[in-house]
């Protein structure tokens, strides 16, 4: 494997990636819901590939009952329920706030209906401060047994196509892992006109306190994130990479540079970091540094020499 051979001189790492038309200076960005303005105190947003605030809903939302997070082995479950100040506040405060940074803003949209997605995409996608849209078609926290748009290929296709019709901004579909065949949802997104895929949102999960006999979360169920589920996600990234031509943003359980490299080898062009920022507030910058050291160690000049390069001896899937 020649790419792994130590190259004579390392002339600096090329970390730029293009995600469905959006140019990023490096592949590291926050995961929605684990990032916000108050993190400016702990890291310089200019160092990130993109900024990606919490999913926004059309109207203000109160969110779920507390406790909203609980800890599990190698992970956590959350059921924030998308507490939100609504689109107006977002347009007036959040979008302008990020203008001060030389980093593209990806706006994550959550909505209760296809129409609402279209309406919000119209407003946000056509706002000059927004560089790309991530459609959160996968949030499992809503009532109704964790159902999400992204659990159905036809709905995904319809939704994507309608949103595509209303805006030209790069469109990223954030998929849910709670499906039988993620490839089908990936293809539905591609056919609907998405420019990239975020793989993936959280797994629907539940934890019960054996002393109180109550669920650990006020909302009973929530989404599990963190390193414990990463191997399932690496598999999904690999499957989506085989099935679809769209660039992939890997997401789930990335705690360090090697986790990010693993996702990129599986096929991700960029990587989101969520829960790791709770364990270490500046985790994103650490991940980035570790990617650079890795590339230096192995003499890899361009991050594209890693993407999708997992290597097989024998078995190739059909």
């Amino acid at each position: 494997m020649s790419t792994l051979e130590q190259k004579s001189a390392n002339q600096g790492c090329h970390l730029r990636v293009n995600i469905g038309g959006l140019e990023l200076k490096n592949p590291i960005m926050p995961a929605s819901g684990a990032f916000g303005e108050s993190m400016e105190k702990v890291l310089d947003f200019n160092h990130l590939g993109a900024v990606l605030p919490k999913s926004i809903t059309k109207y203000p939302r109160k969110g779920n009952d507390t406790p909203r997070v609980c800890e599990v082995p190698a992970g956590m479950i959350n059921s924030i329920g998308i507490q939100s100040k609504g689109l107006q506040y977002y347009l007036k405060n959040i979008v302008p706030y990020y203008q001060q940074y030389d980093t593209p803003l990806i706006a994550s949209i959550s909505a209760d209906s296809v129409e609402e997605f279209v309406e919000m995409a119209d407003i946000l996608g056509n706002n000059p401060g927004v560089d790309a849209l991530e459609l959160n078609i996968s949030c499992p926290n809503l009532k109704g047994d964790g159902l999400a748009f992204g659990m159905d290929a036809d709905v995904t296709y319809e939704l994507t196509k309608k949103v595509r019709g209303i805006t030209d901004v790069p469109l990223f579909n954030k998929l849910t892992p709670n499906v039988t065949r993620i490839q089908d949802i990936a293809l539905a997104s591609e056919e609907g006109g998405a420019d990239a895929l975020t793989v993936v949102n959280t797994f629907l999960a539940m934890s019960i306190n054996v002393h109180t006999w109550k669920p650990e979360l006020g909302n009973v169920m929530g989404g599990i994130s963190g390193p414990g589920v990463k191997p399932i996600i690496v598999r999904m990234i690999y499957q989506v990479y085989q099935a679809s031509k769209l660039p992939i943003i890997g997401c789930g359980g990335v705690m360090n540079g090697e986790d990010a490299i693993e996702m990129m080898l599986a096929g991700a062009s960029a990587v989101q970091v969520g829960t790791a920022s709770f364990i270490k507030p500046a985790a994103m910058l650490d991940v980035l540094e570790e990617i650079k050291s890795y590339m230096q160690q192995y003499g890899i000049n361009d991050i594209y020499d890693i993407i999708g390069k997992v290597h097989f001896n024998q078995y190739e899937e059909g």
Binding site: V42, T66, P67, V69, E71, N78, I80, Q83, F278, P281
Partner: protein, 275 residues
């Protein structure tokens, strides 16, 4: 301006760093006491603020744990924590030894406000809630503000901060389940007695919903400014994840605010105490 908008404005430096453990010892059946070197901290620490501490990810303690400062020693640049051993995190914390370091993010959140002209304040603590109020008692003592404190606990064993408070010159009342003195009505009588004897400029509470409702009731009737330090399960501890919320009433509107950023200290009257 609303509570929740206030704190995006001030840019205070908060650091996540390894701090050295100067001691970490068991002080009673369920309580431990840890002293750390605070010389590397970026900002001053205020009573009521907290640190988000990595208790050790072994033992499955994946997330960090929030702990308020128990004592702030400016002279020798140390910070003290008092903690109750409860689950994985606090148990893991007891394993850390003098000389080792612990990853600690802070100081975080908004501390107590102590008016310059205050003469006498009232502290109402339940259980390990005293860990949070003690730093305030320490500051009050430094500023010459007199303190009356009611400490409520399961047993005498859990009342270990009483002597420290007395050392600060506080008038300390202890109530316990052990003695059958910790019921709300008895605490009400003690508070009524204190407020009858003294002019209380402000009241502070931490550690019990029941007692907080009691104090809310008394202080609103008597028009005494009061603050409460709240606890909620946290994710980020820096205001981005919205895990740690509670409801406050401002301008007749219910607002859901973050304990880690807009709190943990809130005006007692604004907090909607869950039943």
């Amino acid at each position: 301006m609303f509570l929740e908008d206030l704190f995006l404005l001030g840019v205070r430096v908060v650091k996540d760093q390894e701090v050295k453990i100067l001691s970490n010892i068991q002080v009673s059946e369920r309580y431990w006491h840890m002293v750390v070197d605070a010389s590397g901290l970026a900002s001053d620490v205020e009573p009521g603020q907290f640190f988000y501490i990595d208790c050790g990810q072994e033992n499955e303690s994946f997330l960090r744990r929030p702990f308020s400062v128990y004592r702030i020693n400016q002279d020798d640049q140390t910070l003290e924590f008092l903690y109750l051993t409860k689950g994985l995190g606090t148990q893991a914390l007891t394993k850390l030894k003098q000389g080792e370091t612990v990853r600690s993010f802070g100081p975080l959140g908004q501390g107590f406000s102590l008016q310059e002209d205050a003469q006498k304040i009232l502290l109402l603590a339940r259980g390990v809630g005293i860990a949070t109020l003690a730093a305030l008692a320490q500051e009050a003592s430094k500023k010459g503000v007199q303190c009356a404190a009611i400490l409520s606990a399961r047993s005498h064993n859990d009342l270990l901060a009483a002597e420290m408070l007395q050392g600060f010159g506080a008038e300390v009342h202890k109530v316990t389940e052990e003695d059958g003195t910790s019921d709300v009505e008895n605490v009400r009588d003690i508070i009524e007695d204190i407020t009858a004897r003294h002019n209380i400029d402000a009241a502070y509470t931490c550690g019990s919903r029941r007692l907080s409702r009691l104090l809310q009731d008394i202080t609103s009737k008597k028009d005494i400014p009061a603050e409460i330090a709240l606890e909620e399960h946290m994710g980020c501890a820096m205001g981005v994840c919205y895990a740690c919320v509670c409801d406050v009433v401002e301008d007749d509107e219910i607002r859901t605010v973050r304990v880690c950023l807009e709190g943990p200290v809130f005006p007692l009257q604004k907090v909607m105490m869950q039943p």
